[in-house]
Amino acid sequence: MSLLKEPDFGTPARDGEATVELTIDGVSVTVPPGTSVMRAAKHAGLDIPKLCATDNLEAFGSCRLCIVEIDGARGTPASCTTPVAPGMVVRTQNEKLGKLRRGVMELYISDHPLDCLTCSANGDCELQDMAGVTGLREVRYGSGVEAGANHLDAPTDSSNPYFDFDASKCIACSRCVRACDEVQGTLALTIEGRGFDSKVAAGAGVSFMESDCVSCGACVQACPTATLQEKTVIELGMPTRSVITTCAYCGVGCSFKAELRGDELVRMVPYKDGGANEGHSCVKGRFAFGYASHPDRVMEPMVRDAITDPWRKVSWEEAIGFTARRLREIQANYGQGSIGAITSSRTTNEEVYVVQKMVRAVFGNNNVDTCARVCHSPTGYGLKQTFGESAGTQDFSSVDHADVILVIGANPTDAHPVFGSRMKKRLRQGAKLIVIDPRQIDLVRSPHIEAAHHLSLAPGTNVAIVNALSHVIVTEGLVDRAFVEERCEDFDQWETFISGPEHSPEAVAELTGVPAEEVRAAARLYATGGNGAIYYGLGVTEHSQGSTTVMGMANLAMATGNIGRAGVGVNPLRGQNNVQGSCDMGSFPHELPGYRHVSDDDVRDVYEKLWGTPLLNEPGLRIPNMFDSAIDGSFRALFVQGEDIAQSDPNTAHVFAALGALELLVVQDLFENETAKWAHVLLPGTSFLEKDGTFTNAERRINRVRPVMSPQTGKHEWEIICEISQAMGYPMHYDSAAQIMDEIAITTPTFAGVSFDHLDKVGSVQWPCNLEAPNGTPIMHTDEFTRGKGRFMETVYVPTTERSTRKYPLILTTGRILSQYNVGAQTRRTANVAWHPEDILELHPHDAEVRGIEDGSTVALSSRVGRTTLRAKLSERMPVGVCYTTFHHPVTGANVITTDNSDWATNCPEYKVTAVQVDLLVEPVNAQAAENLEPAVVGH
């Protein structure tokens, strides 16, 4: 239910050409075969009454409100379950149908509380609407107790922190159950009992909170009454206005209707026309927005001379003046290259663009990097080397056409849940699944889904496995020779390389731990099973050979011809909402916007003319290099935009040492985060509800982020950057964020056709968006690769230097959980902590038993760089010898443990492989290792 109502066609669309012509209420309409009469009627501009039907769910035919008369057909069939037929003549309204519908409504209303005026769904209730539409004027049976047996005393389940389930208002239409099944794919809900006793239940005799429910909100969205209702609506009342915008969480980039009363956000409702999510959502995007108005938010600028001093709240003018003066002083003392900035994947394209512009044009160097350094920088490198473009190849809907889905190093149901649901839908339709992951992630075996092959490899052996897959494809004659010959280059030498016996599944079985026959079977399935699509995540990139694995996957896709059409491709699942965009916008120290190298004179010339200043032609420092250079003294000041590097970057002690060595650290953020503890200037940032700009998601989709309220801090973040630049002596001014996008468009060929006006008109576009593709490019490399020919790359497996030893015999791998996001700065300030109040160490029961560890034990986790404590959870999802934790809570400080090993090509940290020991702690230790390194202890 929602304030802003998109058209509801009642049943899903059917693919195919509109060839079936029929007449409904005298109106002729032509629709594709398989379309329901209900949907055809809507196309003809006719609304048929309905309660159990909605167009994101298959027809159910239970409410009987949508009955119609069809010439030649007996009785009054339900229009939702009746497919159209050529020449069909349908009547949707007459006296008989009206009487039958009123009869149905009488039965519903006789067992429904008549509290419309005080009901939370008043004005937004389909049952109420249908009473009006059907002309219900009396209920012959009475209502409530007078009608006899009823459900009016049915209890309300308030266990979920975000929504209530008021069973007394349930009409048993099954929309919630079907939404959980068909849209979300969790199958947590069911109809319990039969006949009059039928009722919605979350599992067997448990509350919603105790059930398998993942709180995605699909059931709330589907409910036609107030049975499943957001608590915020119950508490605050119906919203009065609605703004379409984009989620601030993961790289799926869901579109939402932000629904408000005045300036107060009441609820987020997934937008049906959103290209990325098509009306679905997850627990974070739909419900976890409370952080935006959390009292912890920093609302005024603050400065201090030393981090041991207390913060001083100051005016914007003073904060900006202080920042500019100190930056120039430091450059005067230590050189032009002694300062730099880190952009954020949580800010808009426009905000990122002006930061990199400030670095290049005002700081006069290329010391700008982005948090994508520590997640998907290998994607940018690997795909550019092979395909010629630093981005995924497909749109999300492409998965609907995949026959074999290969998921490697990704856990979409937790980290990209809305896309995960889409993938699960396709898998339930029969697509085959191959999972390459040390852990038995949920996808491996979940309701109605089972992976054909789970290659549970040893952490750090991705390249060996991907090479083995390619080896089988090449040596067993499964290469798509025609595709390779027409579209690719350097195949012959790669074929010789990959055919080498050292790459065979048998040769690598011992080091990967995966039986050779399983690898062979998976390779055969990927190569011969129809459309093969690869989806991958940080389990690929965050390794010492992250870039090599990306190139290896590109080799796989090219060798099998799985590029350039729907259902195939190589698809990175980006971690944060604007990882793609922050990279696109020139955040890497060696690339100007659009991934063009700083040494390219022609490209620099474009910016030098526009910006009126010479630009350096040498790369700048990457984030790890900034840390190293801070420690060696050549890098003295850092501007950090919306990123908590002190918590998210590896080897916390090393990061702390670097931050402690800086003379000036400027943090722009919503909260006084872990990094801000080392800062001298804290500039309050804006939440996504206040931003005006664009995010670019994992499928290159540029979506509008529309402000639903003015900046609560008084300034847009891009304005702050402009004012710092001006205070440093460089005139930078824009009237609006739209003007920044206009500058991006005229300087970046892949964005040439993008403007706020265009986005407002068409909804969203996927870059490249230019004259050749004015509405964007959903699928890339269709006729030729961006670089011309796809290039096969030799991908030699080189083992990581991080290996288990007698002292550190286990391998730790880190990741995310559904309810929390990244460093938790946002989600920890919402009720999502109900699901994940602390980081937990998962380990196999065998590894636990030999250490005397039980489920819930407090354990010490140590590596060669640090030590922390947390509680253990025994899990057979983990292979023996491997343990897992998340990095959402600063009190745990998982990155105290991780090392500064990194991807050879990009320096993306090797988060996924750390040799550790786990010991049972008899006495819980409260003080964490990370805390012991905090500023008050370490000082300068």
Binding site: Q545, P589, H590, P619, N625, H654, D900, W904, A905
Partner: protein, 79 residues
């Protein structure tokens, strides 16, 4: 200094060199040098060259060869 005890430029150059260890040294050195030229900040390149000049301790020999290609052209001519 990193947890490995090596200066960052040495550790990073060695990591790159390991990826090309299967190639002939001259070819590997060129590939390593090209990669470093494309993505390293000048101070890191200078530090690597300086490390080579001071004996190249713990630096992969092929990475040391690559470092020679990072020298400014005039400096290379003077070697």
């Amino acid at each position: 200094m990193s947890a490995t005890g090596l200066p960052p430029h040495v550790r990073l150059a060695n990591e790159i060199a390991r990826q090309f260890a299967h190639r002939e040294p001259a070819d590997a050195a060129t590939r390593i040098a090209n990669h470093i030229k494309a993505v390293w900040d000048p101070r890191m390149k200078a530090a690597l060259i300086s490390h080579v000049d001071s004996g190249g301790e713990d630096l992969d020999p092929v990475a040391a060869l690559a470092a020679e290609q990072l020298r400014p052209v005039e400096a290379r001519g003077a070697q």
